[in-house]
Protein backbone atom coordinates (compact mmCIF):
# COMPACT_ATOMS: atom_id res chain seq x y z
CA UNK A 1 0.00 0.00 0.00
CA UNK A 2 1.27 3.42 -0.94
CA UNK A 3 0.96 6.07 1.77
CA UNK A 4 -1.39 9.01 1.20
CA UNK A 5 1.57 11.31 1.71
CA UNK A 6 3.40 9.68 -1.19
CA UNK A 7 0.44 9.69 -3.58
CA UNK A 8 -0.55 13.27 -2.78
CA UNK A 9 2.83 15.01 -2.39
CA UNK A 10 5.43 12.73 -3.98
CA UNK A 11 7.27 12.47 -0.65
CA UNK A 12 7.64 8.94 0.71
CA UNK A 13 6.48 8.22 4.23
CA UNK A 14 8.16 5.99 6.82
CA UNK A 15 5.68 3.27 5.92
CA UNK A 16 6.82 3.37 2.27
CA UNK A 17 10.49 3.54 3.19
CA UNK A 18 10.32 0.55 5.51
CA UNK A 19 10.05 -1.81 2.54
CA UNK A 20 13.18 -0.47 0.87
CA UNK A 21 15.59 -0.21 3.79
CA UNK A 22 18.28 -2.91 4.16
CA UNK A 23 18.76 -4.81 7.43
CA UNK A 24 21.11 -3.42 10.10
CA UNK A 25 23.40 -6.41 9.55
CA UNK A 26 23.68 -5.74 5.83
CA UNK A 27 24.25 -2.02 6.42
CA UNK A 28 27.20 -2.81 8.69
CA UNK A 29 28.89 -4.67 5.85
CA UNK A 30 29.26 -1.58 3.64
CA UNK A 31 27.72 -0.09 0.49
CA UNK A 32 24.29 -1.35 -0.42
CA UNK A 33 21.49 -0.36 -2.75
CA UNK A 34 18.24 1.30 -1.60
CA UNK A 35 15.50 1.11 -4.24
CA UNK A 36 12.78 3.66 -3.46
CA UNK A 37 10.33 2.58 -6.13
CA UNK A 38 6.91 1.82 -4.66
CA UNK A 39 4.44 2.06 -7.50
CA UNK A 40 3.77 -0.48 -10.22
CA UNK A 41 5.00 1.08 -13.46
CA UNK A 42 6.10 -0.64 -16.68
CA UNK A 43 9.84 -0.44 -16.11
CA UNK A 44 12.84 -2.69 -15.49
CA UNK A 45 16.26 -1.15 -16.26
CA UNK A 46 17.22 -1.71 -12.61
CA UNK A 47 16.93 -5.44 -13.21
CA UNK A 48 18.74 -5.48 -16.54
CA UNK A 49 21.57 -3.22 -15.36
CA UNK A 50 22.52 -5.19 -12.24
CA UNK A 51 25.36 -7.63 -12.94
CA UNK A 52 24.62 -9.58 -9.74
CA UNK A 53 20.88 -10.12 -10.17
CA UNK A 54 20.28 -8.32 -6.90
CA UNK A 55 17.18 -6.61 -8.34
CA UNK A 56 14.42 -8.64 -9.96
CA UNK A 57 11.30 -7.28 -11.63
CA UNK A 58 10.46 -10.49 -13.42
CA UNK A 59 8.08 -11.56 -16.16
CA UNK A 60 5.47 -8.86 -15.49
CA UNK A 61 7.28 -5.63 -16.20
CA UNK A 62 4.77 -3.76 -14.03
CA UNK A 63 5.73 -5.67 -10.90
CA UNK A 64 7.69 -3.84 -8.21
CA UNK A 65 11.45 -4.43 -8.15
CA UNK A 66 12.37 -7.02 -5.52
CA UNK A 67 15.77 -6.44 -3.97
CA UNK A 68 18.07 -9.03 -2.46
CA UNK A 69 20.42 -6.86 -0.41
CA UNK A 70 22.65 -9.85 0.28
CA UNK A 71 23.51 -10.14 -3.42
CA UNK A 72 24.23 -6.43 -3.85
CA UNK A 73 27.79 -5.16 -3.48
CA UNK A 74 26.90 -1.48 -3.82
CA UNK A 75 28.62 -1.03 -7.18
CA UNK A 76 26.18 1.85 -8.11
CA UNK A 77 25.73 0.64 -11.72
CA UNK A 78 21.94 0.62 -11.43
CA UNK A 79 21.75 4.14 -9.95
CA UNK A 80 22.36 5.97 -13.21
CA UNK A 81 20.27 3.54 -15.25
CA UNK A 82 17.01 4.02 -13.34
CA UNK A 83 14.79 6.42 -15.32
CA UNK A 84 12.87 7.19 -12.13
CA UNK A 85 16.07 8.27 -10.34
CA UNK A 86 14.66 6.18 -7.53
CA UNK A 87 17.84 4.31 -6.54
CA UNK A 88 20.63 5.35 -4.18
CA UNK A 89 23.53 3.46 -2.65
CA UNK A 90 24.26 4.03 1.03
CA UNK A 91 27.39 3.11 2.94
CA UNK A 92 26.60 3.20 6.64
CA UNK A 93 30.03 1.73 7.43
CA UNK A 94 31.99 4.58 5.81
CA UNK A 95 33.59 5.85 9.02
CA UNK A 96 32.94 6.19 12.76
CA UNK A 97 31.08 9.45 12.32
CA UNK A 98 29.96 9.57 8.73
CA UNK A 99 27.99 7.58 6.21
CA UNK A 100 27.88 8.11 2.46
CA UNK A 101 24.98 8.34 0.04
CA UNK A 102 25.46 8.07 -3.71
CA UNK A 103 22.71 9.92 -5.57
CA UNK A 104 21.96 10.59 -9.24
CA UNK A 105 22.30 14.33 -9.90
CA UNK A 106 21.25 15.77 -13.27
CA UNK A 107 21.84 19.48 -12.63
CA UNK A 108 24.54 21.98 -13.53
CA UNK A 109 26.94 23.00 -12.22
CA UNK A 110 28.12 19.65 -10.94
CA UNK A 111 29.56 20.00 -7.45
CA UNK A 112 33.30 19.61 -7.10
CA UNK A 113 34.93 16.78 -5.28
CA UNK A 114 35.85 17.84 -1.76
CA UNK A 115 33.42 20.77 -1.72
CA UNK A 116 30.82 21.42 0.96
CA UNK A 117 27.17 21.29 -0.10
CA UNK A 118 23.81 21.12 1.62
CA UNK A 119 22.26 17.71 2.10
CA UNK A 120 18.61 17.88 1.08
CA UNK A 121 15.87 15.49 2.18
CA UNK A 122 13.01 13.97 0.14
CA UNK A 123 10.89 17.02 0.75
CA UNK A 124 13.47 19.50 -0.47
CA UNK A 125 14.50 20.71 3.00
CA UNK A 126 18.07 21.22 4.15
CA UNK A 127 18.82 18.46 6.63
CA UNK A 128 22.59 18.61 7.10
CA UNK A 129 25.90 19.76 5.73
CA UNK A 130 27.52 17.29 3.38
CA UNK A 131 30.90 16.80 1.74
CA UNK A 132 31.28 15.69 -1.85
CA UNK A 133 33.43 12.57 -1.76
CA UNK A 134 33.20 11.59 -5.39
CA UNK A 135 31.64 12.73 -8.67
CA UNK A 136 31.30 10.12 -11.37
CA UNK A 137 30.26 11.07 -14.89
CA UNK A 138 31.28 8.42 -17.38
CA UNK A 139 29.87 7.95 -20.86
CA UNK A 140 28.14 4.73 -19.82
CA UNK A 141 26.03 6.70 -17.34
CA UNK A 142 24.31 8.47 -20.22
CA UNK A 143 24.39 11.98 -18.73
CA UNK A 144 23.22 10.99 -15.26
CA UNK A 145 26.19 11.91 -13.04
CA UNK A 146 26.54 10.23 -9.65
CA UNK A 147 27.54 12.23 -6.61
CA UNK A 148 28.68 10.54 -3.41
CA UNK A 149 28.09 12.63 -0.30
CA UNK A 150 29.56 12.09 3.15
CA UNK A 151 26.88 12.92 5.71
CA UNK A 152 26.66 12.67 9.53
CA UNK A 153 25.79 9.15 10.65
CA UNK A 154 22.07 8.51 10.43
CA UNK A 155 21.47 11.14 7.75
CA UNK A 156 21.97 8.53 5.03
CA UNK A 157 18.33 7.72 5.72
CA UNK A 158 17.24 11.20 4.76
CA UNK A 159 19.60 12.85 2.29
CA UNK A 160 18.44 12.30 -1.31
CA UNK A 161 19.47 15.50 -3.06
CA UNK A 162 22.03 18.26 -2.76
CA UNK A 163 22.23 21.98 -3.17
CA UNK A 164 25.45 23.73 -4.05
CA UNK A 165 26.31 26.95 -2.26
CA UNK A 166 25.03 30.17 -3.85
Amino acid sequence: MLSDKLTSTGVADQSDLGQAWPSEDRLKQGPVVVVECYQEIPCNPCETSCPRQAIVVGENINDLPKVDHAKCNGCTLCVARCPGLAIVVVNAAYSQTESTVTIPYEFLPLPEQGSAVEGIDRQGRVCCQARVVRVLNTKAQGKTPLVTLAVPKGKEREVRFLRTAG
Binding site: T9, C43, N62, D121, R160
Partner: protein
Protein backbone atom coordinates in the same frame (compact mmCIF):
# COMPACT_ATOMS: atom_id res chain seq x y z
CA UNK B 1 7.75 13.27 -53.84
CA UNK B 2 6.87 9.61 -54.42
CA UNK B 3 4.42 7.80 -52.18
CA UNK B 4 5.73 4.26 -52.38
CA UNK B 5 3.29 1.59 -51.27
CA UNK B 6 2.91 2.70 -47.66
CA UNK B 7 2.46 6.36 -46.76
CA UNK B 8 3.07 7.16 -43.12
CA UNK B 9 1.57 10.43 -41.94
CA UNK B 10 3.48 11.57 -38.88
CA UNK B 11 7.13 10.82 -38.11
CA UNK B 12 6.80 10.43 -34.36
CA UNK B 13 7.55 7.28 -32.36
CA UNK B 14 4.64 5.36 -33.92
CA UNK B 15 5.35 6.39 -37.50
CA UNK B 16 9.09 5.73 -37.35
CA UNK B 17 8.62 2.28 -35.82
CA UNK B 18 5.95 1.42 -38.38
CA UNK B 19 8.31 2.18 -41.27
CA UNK B 20 11.06 0.05 -39.74
CA UNK B 21 8.76 -2.90 -39.04
CA UNK B 22 7.18 -2.75 -42.50
CA UNK B 23 10.57 -2.61 -44.19
CA UNK B 24 11.58 -5.91 -42.55
CA UNK B 25 8.98 -7.50 -44.82
CA UNK B 26 9.87 -5.61 -47.97
CA UNK B 27 7.30 -2.83 -47.75
CA UNK B 28 8.46 0.47 -49.19
CA UNK B 29 7.41 3.39 -47.03
CA UNK B 30 7.45 7.14 -47.23
CA UNK B 31 7.18 9.09 -43.98
CA UNK B 32 5.87 12.64 -44.06
CA UNK B 33 6.14 14.95 -41.08
CA UNK B 34 5.07 18.55 -40.73
CA UNK B 35 7.93 19.55 -38.45
CA UNK B 36 11.45 20.61 -39.35
CA UNK B 37 12.84 17.35 -38.06
CA UNK B 38 11.18 13.97 -37.58
CA UNK B 39 10.87 12.30 -34.19
CA UNK B 40 7.63 13.89 -32.99
CA UNK B 41 7.56 14.24 -29.23
CA UNK B 42 10.77 12.19 -28.94
CA UNK B 43 12.76 15.22 -30.09
CA UNK B 44 12.12 17.07 -26.84
CA UNK B 45 12.16 14.19 -24.39
CA UNK B 46 15.41 14.61 -22.49
CA UNK B 47 14.55 12.07 -19.80
CA UNK B 48 15.34 8.36 -19.80
CA UNK B 49 12.49 6.19 -21.00
CA UNK B 50 10.71 3.54 -19.00
CA UNK B 51 9.76 0.13 -20.34
CA UNK B 52 12.12 -2.75 -20.99
CA UNK B 53 15.26 -3.15 -23.04
CA UNK B 54 13.27 -4.05 -26.16
CA UNK B 55 11.63 -0.62 -25.94
CA UNK B 56 15.03 0.99 -25.33
CA UNK B 57 14.28 1.74 -21.67
CA UNK B 58 16.94 3.75 -19.89
CA UNK B 59 17.74 5.63 -23.10
CA UNK B 60 16.73 9.27 -23.36
CA UNK B 61 13.80 10.01 -25.66
CA UNK B 62 15.64 12.26 -28.11
CA UNK B 63 18.38 9.66 -28.43
CA UNK B 64 15.78 7.03 -29.27
CA UNK B 65 14.51 9.37 -31.99
CA UNK B 66 18.02 9.74 -33.41
CA UNK B 67 18.64 5.99 -33.26
CA UNK B 68 15.42 5.29 -35.15
CA UNK B 69 16.25 7.86 -37.82
CA UNK B 70 19.70 6.34 -38.21
CA UNK B 71 18.16 2.91 -38.75
CA UNK B 72 15.70 4.34 -41.26
CA UNK B 73 18.39 5.99 -43.30
CA UNK B 74 20.49 2.80 -43.23
CA UNK B 75 17.52 1.01 -44.72
CA UNK B 76 16.98 3.75 -47.27
CA UNK B 77 13.58 4.83 -45.99
CA UNK B 78 12.76 8.37 -46.95
CA UNK B 79 11.36 11.04 -44.63
CA UNK B 80 9.90 14.23 -46.06
CA UNK B 81 9.85 16.99 -43.44
CA UNK B 82 7.77 20.15 -43.36
CA UNK B 83 5.23 18.17 -45.32
CA UNK B 84 1.62 18.08 -44.12
CA UNK B 85 -1.22 15.84 -45.19
CA UNK B 86 -3.87 18.44 -45.97
CA UNK B 87 -6.61 16.26 -47.39
CA UNK B 88 -7.82 12.77 -48.21
CA UNK B 89 -9.88 12.10 -51.35
CA UNK B 90 -12.39 9.28 -51.87
CA UNK B 91 -10.18 7.60 -54.49
CA UNK B 92 -7.45 7.14 -51.88
CA UNK B 93 -5.36 10.14 -52.82
CA UNK B 94 -3.65 12.05 -50.03
CA UNK B 95 -2.81 15.68 -50.72
CA UNK B 96 0.55 16.52 -49.18
CA UNK B 97 1.71 20.10 -48.96
CA UNK B 98 5.39 20.95 -48.85
CA UNK B 99 7.06 24.26 -49.68
CA UNK B 100 3.75 25.71 -50.87
CA UNK B 101 3.36 22.93 -53.38
CA UNK B 102 0.74 20.19 -53.17
CA UNK B 103 1.63 16.64 -54.11
CA UNK B 104 -1.17 14.19 -54.80
CA UNK B 105 0.05 10.83 -53.49
CA UNK B 106 -1.71 7.55 -54.02
CA UNK B 107 -0.19 4.87 -51.82
CA UNK B 108 -1.59 1.36 -51.43
CA UNK B 109 -1.78 1.68 -47.65
CA UNK B 110 -1.73 4.59 -45.22
CA UNK B 111 -0.81 4.97 -41.58
CA UNK B 112 -2.30 7.89 -39.73
CA UNK B 113 0.08 8.53 -36.83
CA UNK B 114 -0.63 12.21 -36.36
CA UNK B 115 -0.40 12.27 -32.58
CA UNK B 116 -2.34 14.65 -30.39
CA UNK B 117 -2.77 18.30 -29.53
CA UNK B 118 -2.69 19.89 -26.11
CA UNK B 119 -5.84 20.64 -24.16
CA UNK B 120 -6.39 24.08 -22.76
CA UNK B 121 -8.32 25.36 -19.77
CA UNK B 122 -9.85 28.80 -19.48
CA UNK B 123 -9.66 31.06 -16.46
CA UNK B 124 -9.53 34.84 -16.08
CA UNK B 125 -6.21 35.89 -17.56
CA UNK B 126 -5.66 32.65 -19.48
CA UNK B 127 -5.25 34.74 -22.64
CA UNK B 128 -2.27 36.70 -21.22
CA UNK B 129 1.19 36.20 -22.70
CA UNK B 130 3.00 33.84 -20.37
CA UNK B 131 0.31 31.16 -20.35
CA UNK B 132 1.72 28.20 -22.27
CA UNK B 133 0.96 24.60 -23.00
CA UNK B 134 3.54 22.24 -21.51
CA UNK B 135 4.41 20.93 -24.96
CA UNK B 136 5.20 24.44 -26.16
CA UNK B 137 7.41 25.02 -23.13
CA UNK B 138 9.25 21.80 -23.86
CA UNK B 139 9.75 22.76 -27.50
CA UNK B 140 11.06 26.20 -26.56
CA UNK B 141 13.51 24.80 -24.03
CA UNK B 142 14.63 21.52 -25.45
CA UNK B 143 14.50 22.19 -29.18
CA UNK B 144 15.32 25.90 -29.38
CA UNK B 145 17.19 26.43 -26.13
CA UNK B 146 14.92 29.26 -24.98
CA UNK B 147 13.74 29.67 -21.40
CA UNK B 148 10.03 30.44 -21.37
CA UNK B 149 10.19 32.43 -18.12
CA UNK B 150 11.80 32.60 -14.72
CA UNK B 151 9.07 31.58 -12.26
CA UNK B 152 6.56 29.00 -13.30
CA UNK B 153 3.30 27.61 -11.99
CA UNK B 154 2.63 24.16 -13.43
CA UNK B 155 -1.01 23.12 -13.78
CA UNK B 156 -1.41 19.35 -13.95
CA UNK B 157 0.49 16.49 -12.31
CA UNK B 158 0.38 13.89 -15.06
CA UNK B 159 3.69 12.66 -16.40
CA UNK B 160 3.96 15.62 -18.78
CA UNK B 161 3.46 18.17 -15.97
CA UNK B 162 5.96 16.40 -13.73
CA UNK B 163 8.59 15.85 -16.41
CA UNK B 164 8.37 19.39 -17.80
CA UNK B 165 8.69 20.77 -14.23
CA UNK B 166 11.88 18.78 -13.79
CA UNK B 167 13.23 19.96 -17.12
CA UNK B 168 12.39 23.58 -16.26
CA UNK B 169 14.43 23.23 -13.08
CA UNK B 170 17.30 21.72 -15.04
CA UNK B 171 17.18 24.81 -17.25
CA UNK B 172 17.54 26.99 -14.16
CA UNK B 173 13.90 28.07 -14.01
CA UNK B 174 12.19 28.22 -10.62
CA UNK B 175 9.01 26.13 -10.42
CA UNK B 176 6.85 27.59 -7.64
CA UNK B 177 4.34 24.75 -7.44
CA UNK B 178 2.66 21.97 -9.35
CA UNK B 179 -1.09 21.99 -8.81
CA UNK B 180 -3.53 19.14 -9.45
CA UNK B 181 -7.32 19.08 -9.14
CA UNK B 182 -7.55 15.41 -8.23
CA UNK B 183 -6.68 14.13 -4.74
CA UNK B 184 -3.80 12.06 -6.13
CA UNK B 185 -0.80 12.76 -8.32
CA UNK B 186 -1.58 11.66 -11.88
CA UNK B 187 1.86 10.69 -13.18
CA UNK B 188 4.52 8.28 -12.00
CA UNK B 189 5.40 8.86 -8.33
CA UNK B 190 9.11 8.48 -9.11
CA UNK B 191 8.82 11.60 -11.30
CA UNK B 192 6.90 13.38 -8.52
CA UNK B 193 9.56 12.47 -5.94
CA UNK B 194 12.30 13.89 -8.20
CA UNK B 195 10.77 17.35 -8.18
CA UNK B 196 9.59 17.15 -4.55
CA UNK B 197 13.15 16.62 -3.31
CA UNK B 198 14.33 19.48 -5.51
CA UNK B 199 11.99 21.65 -3.45
CA UNK B 200 8.84 21.98 -5.56
CA UNK B 201 5.57 21.56 -3.64
CA UNK B 202 2.99 19.38 -5.36
CA UNK B 203 -0.47 20.56 -4.30
CA UNK B 204 -3.25 18.10 -5.01
CA UNK B 205 -6.89 19.25 -4.83
CA UNK B 206 -5.84 22.71 -5.98
CA UNK B 207 -6.90 24.80 -8.93
CA UNK B 208 -5.91 28.05 -10.61
CA UNK B 209 -8.46 30.84 -10.14
CA UNK B 210 -6.81 33.49 -12.26
CA UNK B 211 -3.65 34.88 -13.77
CA UNK B 212 -3.07 38.60 -13.89
CA UNK B 213 -0.52 41.21 -14.85
CA UNK B 214 -0.22 44.34 -16.97
CA UNK B 215 1.12 43.13 -20.30
CA UNK B 216 1.86 39.57 -19.33
CA UNK B 217 1.46 37.13 -16.46
CA UNK B 218 2.87 38.61 -13.24
CA UNK B 219 1.04 36.50 -10.70
CA UNK B 220 -1.39 33.64 -10.36
CA UNK B 221 -4.03 32.94 -7.73
CA UNK B 222 -4.51 29.35 -6.69
CA UNK B 223 -6.90 27.82 -4.17
CA UNK B 224 -7.75 24.53 -2.57
CA UNK B 225 -10.90 22.87 -3.85
CA UNK B 226 -13.44 20.66 -2.11
CA UNK B 227 -14.98 17.37 -3.27
CA UNK B 228 -17.30 19.29 -5.60
CA UNK B 229 -14.37 21.10 -7.19
CA UNK B 230 -15.43 24.38 -5.55
CA UNK B 231 -12.72 26.69 -4.19
CA UNK B 232 -12.51 26.59 -0.39
CA UNK B 233 -12.94 30.14 0.86
CA UNK B 234 -9.90 31.57 2.57
CA UNK B 235 -7.57 29.05 0.93
CA UNK B 236 -6.46 31.37 -1.85
CA UNK B 237 -2.80 32.16 -2.24
CA UNK B 238 -0.96 34.38 -4.66
CA UNK B 239 2.11 33.12 -6.48
CA UNK B 240 4.55 35.56 -8.06
CA UNK B 241 5.07 33.89 -11.42
CA UNK B 242 5.68 35.08 -14.97
CA UNK B 243 4.65 31.81 -16.56
CA UNK B 244 1.68 29.50 -16.17
CA UNK B 245 2.27 26.17 -17.83
CA UNK B 246 -0.75 24.00 -18.64
CA UNK B 247 -0.32 20.25 -18.67
CA UNK B 248 -3.97 19.28 -18.65
CA UNK B 249 -4.11 16.47 -21.14
CA UNK B 250 -4.06 15.80 -24.85
CA UNK B 251 -6.64 15.16 -27.56
CA UNK B 252 -6.12 12.92 -30.60
CA UNK B 253 -5.55 14.73 -33.94
CA UNK B 254 -8.01 12.80 -36.06
CA UNK B 255 -8.92 15.06 -39.04
CA UNK B 256 -7.51 12.75 -41.73
CA UNK B 257 -9.27 9.73 -40.22
CA UNK B 258 -12.60 11.58 -40.33
CA UNK B 259 -12.00 12.62 -43.94
CA UNK B 260 -11.18 9.07 -44.89
CA UNK B 261 -14.51 7.95 -43.50
CA UNK B 262 -13.07 5.73 -40.77
CA UNK B 263 -15.62 4.79 -38.13
CA UNK B 264 -14.99 7.06 -35.17
CA UNK B 265 -16.09 6.59 -31.59
CA UNK B 266 -15.93 8.74 -28.50
CA UNK B 267 -13.95 6.89 -25.83
CA UNK B 268 -13.14 9.14 -22.84
CA UNK B 269 -10.46 6.72 -21.58
CA UNK B 270 -8.55 7.27 -24.82
CA UNK B 271 -8.82 11.05 -24.77
CA UNK B 272 -11.79 11.71 -27.07
CA UNK B 273 -12.80 10.70 -30.59
CA UNK B 274 -10.70 7.85 -31.96
CA UNK B 275 -10.93 5.55 -34.95
CA UNK B 276 -11.96 1.97 -34.47
CA UNK B 277 -9.10 -0.39 -35.30
CA UNK B 278 -8.46 -4.13 -35.33
CA UNK B 279 -5.60 -5.99 -33.62
CA UNK B 280 -3.24 -4.94 -36.38
CA UNK B 281 -4.25 -1.29 -36.09
CA UNK B 282 -6.29 -1.27 -39.31
CA UNK B 283 -9.30 1.04 -39.22
CA UNK B 284 -12.74 0.24 -40.64
CA UNK B 285 -11.41 1.43 -44.04
CA UNK B 286 -9.25 -1.34 -45.51
CA UNK B 287 -5.65 -0.23 -45.97
CA UNK B 288 -5.87 2.69 -43.58
CA UNK B 289 -4.01 2.07 -40.36
CA UNK B 290 -3.65 4.20 -37.25
CA UNK B 291 -1.25 4.14 -34.28
CA UNK B 292 0.07 6.17 -31.38
CA UNK B 293 -1.61 9.00 -29.49
CA UNK B 294 -4.14 9.52 -32.30
CA UNK B 295 -5.71 6.18 -31.31
CA UNK B 296 -5.66 6.95 -27.60
CA UNK B 297 -3.43 9.07 -25.38
CA UNK B 298 -0.66 6.94 -23.88
CA UNK B 299 3.11 6.88 -23.47
CA UNK B 300 5.74 7.06 -26.21
CA UNK B 301 6.74 3.46 -25.45
CA UNK B 302 3.23 2.18 -26.22
CA UNK B 303 3.07 4.42 -29.30
CA UNK B 304 6.26 2.77 -30.57
CA UNK B 305 4.78 -0.69 -30.17
CA UNK B 306 1.47 0.29 -31.74
CA UNK B 307 3.45 1.72 -34.65
CA UNK B 308 5.38 -1.51 -34.96
CA UNK B 309 2.10 -3.46 -35.03
CA UNK B 310 0.68 -1.14 -37.67
CA UNK B 311 3.81 -1.58 -39.80
CA UNK B 312 3.48 -5.35 -39.52
CA UNK B 313 -0.25 -5.04 -40.23
CA UNK B 314 0.52 -3.09 -43.38
CA UNK B 315 3.02 -5.77 -44.41
CA UNK B 316 0.33 -8.41 -44.01
CA UNK B 317 -2.17 -6.31 -45.96
CA UNK B 318 0.23 -5.58 -48.81
CA UNK B 319 2.35 -8.73 -49.01
CA UNK B 320 0.18 -11.41 -47.50
CA UNK B 321 0.67 -13.70 -44.56
CA UNK B 322 3.77 -15.61 -43.60
CA UNK B 323 4.86 -17.61 -40.62
CA UNK B 324 7.70 -15.24 -39.86
CA UNK B 325 5.39 -12.25 -40.00
CA UNK B 326 2.88 -13.88 -37.67
CA UNK B 327 5.69 -14.57 -35.19
CA UNK B 328 6.70 -10.91 -35.21
CA UNK B 329 3.08 -9.83 -34.80
CA UNK B 330 2.55 -12.13 -31.81
CA UNK B 331 5.74 -10.96 -30.17
CA UNK B 332 4.93 -7.25 -30.59
CA UNK B 333 1.33 -7.70 -29.44
CA UNK B 334 2.58 -9.54 -26.38
CA UNK B 335 5.07 -6.81 -25.47
CA UNK B 336 2.39 -4.15 -25.90
CA UNK B 337 0.00 -6.07 -23.66
CA UNK B 338 2.68 -6.45 -20.99
CA UNK B 339 3.45 -2.70 -20.99
CA UNK B 340 -0.26 -2.04 -20.44
CA UNK B 341 -0.67 -4.76 -17.82
CA UNK B 342 -0.13 -2.57 -14.75
CA UNK B 343 -2.28 0.05 -13.02
CA UNK B 344 -1.01 2.80 -15.35
CA UNK B 345 -2.21 0.81 -18.35
CA UNK B 346 -5.69 0.35 -16.94
CA UNK B 347 -7.25 3.33 -18.68
CA UNK B 348 -5.80 2.36 -22.04
CA UNK B 349 -6.83 -1.28 -21.52
CA UNK B 350 -10.40 -0.31 -20.73
CA UNK B 351 -10.53 2.21 -23.54
CA UNK B 352 -9.22 -0.24 -26.12
CA UNK B 353 -11.74 -2.85 -24.91
CA UNK B 354 -14.59 -0.38 -25.30
CA UNK B 355 -13.34 0.60 -28.73
CA UNK B 356 -13.20 -3.03 -29.85
CA UNK B 357 -16.77 -3.54 -28.58
CA UNK B 358 -18.05 -0.52 -30.51
CA UNK B 359 -18.19 -2.29 -33.84
CA UNK B 360 -19.64 -5.62 -32.69
Amino acid sequence: MKAGEFLIIGGGPAGLMAALAASEFGVESLIIDENQAPGGQLVKQTHMFFGSKAERAGTRGFEIGLELQQELSTRGIKIETQASAVGYYPDGTVAVMQNERVWPLKPRAILVATGASENFVSFPGSDLPGVYGAGAVQTLMNVYGIRPGNQVLMVGSGNIGLIVSYQLMQAGVSVKAVIEGLPKIGGYLVHASKIARAGVPILTRHTILEASGKDQVERAVIARIDENWQPVSGSQSILEVDTVCLAVGLSPLTEILWQAGCQMYHVPELGGQVAWHDELMMTSVPGIFTAGDVTGIEEASTAMLEGELAGLGAAKYLKGESKELQCRIDDTACRLASLRAGPFGQKAREGKCKLAECRR
